[in-house]
């Protein structure tokens, strides 16, 4: 069990972390847009 294990799909864990953070950013922008548009 090594912490340096290569992740699936991406080349590094860093790319996985950016995917999660990017998805969060996209969702926050989307929800803000929905709030502004539909309120």
């Amino acid at each position: 069990m090594q912490s340096e294990e290569k992740p699936p799909v991406f080349n590094s864990w860093r790319q996985w972390y950016w995917l999660v953070l990017g998805a969060l950013a996209v969702q926050m922008v989307l929800y803000y847009w929905l709030t502004r548009t539909l309120a």
């Binding site: 912490s3 992740p7 996985w16 972390y17 995917l19 969060l24 969702q27 929905l34 309120a39």
Partner: protein
């Protein structure tokens, strides 16, 4: 509920319990019982993490929260993906390297025994209280449905969970959570679709979303910075991150889920899976609540959603007052419905000024409805002293029971039971593991055989289940269940997280300093709760900040612990 509903509910619950017992009947080692033999794949970990977090409270209380307060509760979860990344980077590799059973074992390696015990005891306190609430919610449903006493329904549900957790331990928890999450998500999505289908034919999905938006229910993001506001983007991102770091990184009920992974990579992927899916899942649950709100614009809602309590009040001398208020409420609905129809027509015509005028009319009638509902609650409180008159947690349940077809009602009841069982099972398993490994085993002067501790773990599971049942029977004071669970968590999590962050990142701080800083921090957090109106999410930040800051200061004036001097 008819025979079909009972068949669906009974069949689902019985299948899950029996499947859990059958699949894990051979758990005979400590590794197998407490860590599931480290055999979990990433998707099982992800599902297990989500199922442990989502209790029946989530599915009962969250739609009610959306109906009354809109979708702004979603912001509470914005810190979760950040926490998942931080835990994947820092905590997971350390826990794996040390091969710990519990997160608190690490604290003895890093600090000393008393700090390990302090963190373990704080965890046992908060998780023990939460387990009671987790059990209380479905017990209340069954009690409301059948007219059975809450103590009996509490005992029934608690016993079902104990059967498979005692048999299979952590592995049984994870295995059954897969079935439970399938039931939960399919049932909730079906309820949302049916709520929309029950709207009048001239109201499209787009119309219902526009109506909800105009009525202020799609308040998803609030950018204003306000320390006393519980839900805005800043409290979610800052305080929420601390809360979720603490919950997923240091709460054994969650740590146990990913410690059961077959590798660091599987555990990390499980956590990231949760980081990607948790916010959309909460969005769906809150949106279902909004659909139910729109449904109740076109269908008259009851004046009070806890029908059993209202019926009891109707048998007292307050019956005449209640009847008069109900008649007034019914008459009001006809006028509100007229305003709602005007709002729909204005939306169809695209006339913005007419839309706003109709919306204001609907809001005016809603304001009057609220006044009557408040009077009803006050009347019920006079009729039945000490009765819980907050009916928000009953709104969704009432919608399911009064508006959905038979069979689906049974499925939705199975959703509540599955959610309650999945989170309670995770909690009981973690409470038993921590009590056995951190307190009992560590206190024994003479090392005993592994079989002894395996047996002790099973008995501790039963003990915590009994305590949770007792607390559930006393839990009727909680005004809003989901908020109460989160408040209880926030009272202790900040301090626990502070201890762990000091351990990970502040290398020069030793055991004495952290221990006393944690004691002071917990006192400050409890003071904030009792004497200030600071938003509860911020307790996490305060507790954590005080532990880290004060421990650094104390380290300057305190000598290092003997263990570290060596």
């Amino acid at each position: 509920m008819n025979y079909l509903d009972w068949l669906v509910l009974g069949g689902t619950v019985a299948f899950i319990v029996l499947y859990g017992v059958w699949r894990t009947r051979g758990a005979k080692t400590m590794e197998g019982y407490l860590k599931g033999d480290n055999s979990m794949k990433w998707w099982m970990i992800g599902v297990s993490i989500m199922a442990t977090q989502a209790s029946a409270v989530t599915f009962l209380s969250t739609p009610g929260q959306a109906i009354e307060d809109g979708m702004r509760f979603l912001q509470f979860y914005f810190g979760l993906p950040l926490a998942m990344v931080i835990i994947s980077v820092t905590m997971v590799p350390i826990y794996y390297r040390l091969k710990v059973f519990t997160a608190y074992e690490y604290l003895e390696t890093r600090f000393d025994l008393k700090t390990r015990w302090l963190a373990a005891i704080l965890f046992l306190l908060l998780r023990g209280l939460s387990a009671g609430i987790t059990l209380f919610a479905p017990s209340l449903i069954l009690s409301t449905l059948m007219g059975w006493p809450v103590p009996f329904t509490t005992l029934l549900i608690g016993s079902l969970v104990v059967i498979y957790v005692v048999t299979g331990g952590s592995k049984a928890v994870s295995i059954t959570q897969r079935q439970q999450m399938t039931v939960i998500m399919s049932g909730m999505i079906l309820a949302g679709i049916l709520a929309f289908n029950l709207l009048p034919d001239n109201v499209s999905f787009g119309d219902s979303v526009k109506i909800a938006g105009k009525m202020g229910k799609l308040n998803l993001v609030d950018l204003r910075f306000n320390l006393s506001d519980r839900y805005n983007i800043w409290s979610g991102l800052i305080a929420g991150t601390f809360l979720f770091l603490s919950y997923f990184g240091t709460d054994q009920s969650q740590v146990a889920r990913y410690l059961g992974g077959s590798s660091v990579a599987e555990s990390r992927l499980g956590l990231l899976f949760n980081g990607l899916l948790k916010i959309p899942m909460q969005f769906i649950i809150l949106f279902i609540g909004v659909m139910v709100y729109v449904f109740y614009l076109f269908t008259q809602p009851p004046v009070f959603h806890n029908g059993v309590l209202k019926d009891r009040a109707m048998k007292t001398e307050q019956a005449a007052t209640l009847q008069s208020l109900e008649s007034e409420y019914n008459a009001l609905y006809a006028q509100k419905r007229e305003a709602v129809d005007k709002l729909v027509n204005a939306i169809h015509e695209g006339d913005e000024s007419a839309v706003n005028a109709s919306r204001d009319q609907v809001k005016e009638w809603q304001g009057k409805e609220v006044e009557i509902r408040d009077s009803v609650k006050a009347t019920i409180a006079r009729a039945i002293p000490r009765a819980k008159t907050q009916d928000r947690d009953y709104i969704f349940l009432n919608f399911v029971l009064s508006s959905l077809p038979h069979g689906i009602i049974g499925l939705l009841m199975a959703v509540m039971f599955s959610a309650a069982m999945s989170s309670m099972a995770g909690e009981l398993s973690a409470l038993a593991t921590t009590t056995c490994m951190d307190i009992y085993k560590r206190s024994n002067r003479v090392e005993k055989a592994p079989e002894h501790y395996l047996k002790a773990s099973r008995w501790f599971t039963v003990l915590w289940a009994v305590l949770a049942m007792i607390f559930a029977m006393l839990a009727t004071f909680a005004e809003n269940l989901i908020q109460f669970v989160n408040i209880v968590g926030s009272l202790f999590y900040g301090t626990i997280l502070g201890i762990f962050l000091a351990a990970f990142y502040v290398k020069r701080v030793h055991g004495h300093a952290v221990f006393w800083a944690a004691i002071v921090a917990e006192g400050i957090v409890l003071y904030c709760y009792a004497a200030t109106d600071i938003a509860y999410l911020l307790y996490n930040l305060i507790g954590c900040g005080v532990v880290i800051g004060l421990s650094i200061l104390l380290q300057v004036v305190m000598p290092a612990t003997p263990a570290l001097k060596k």
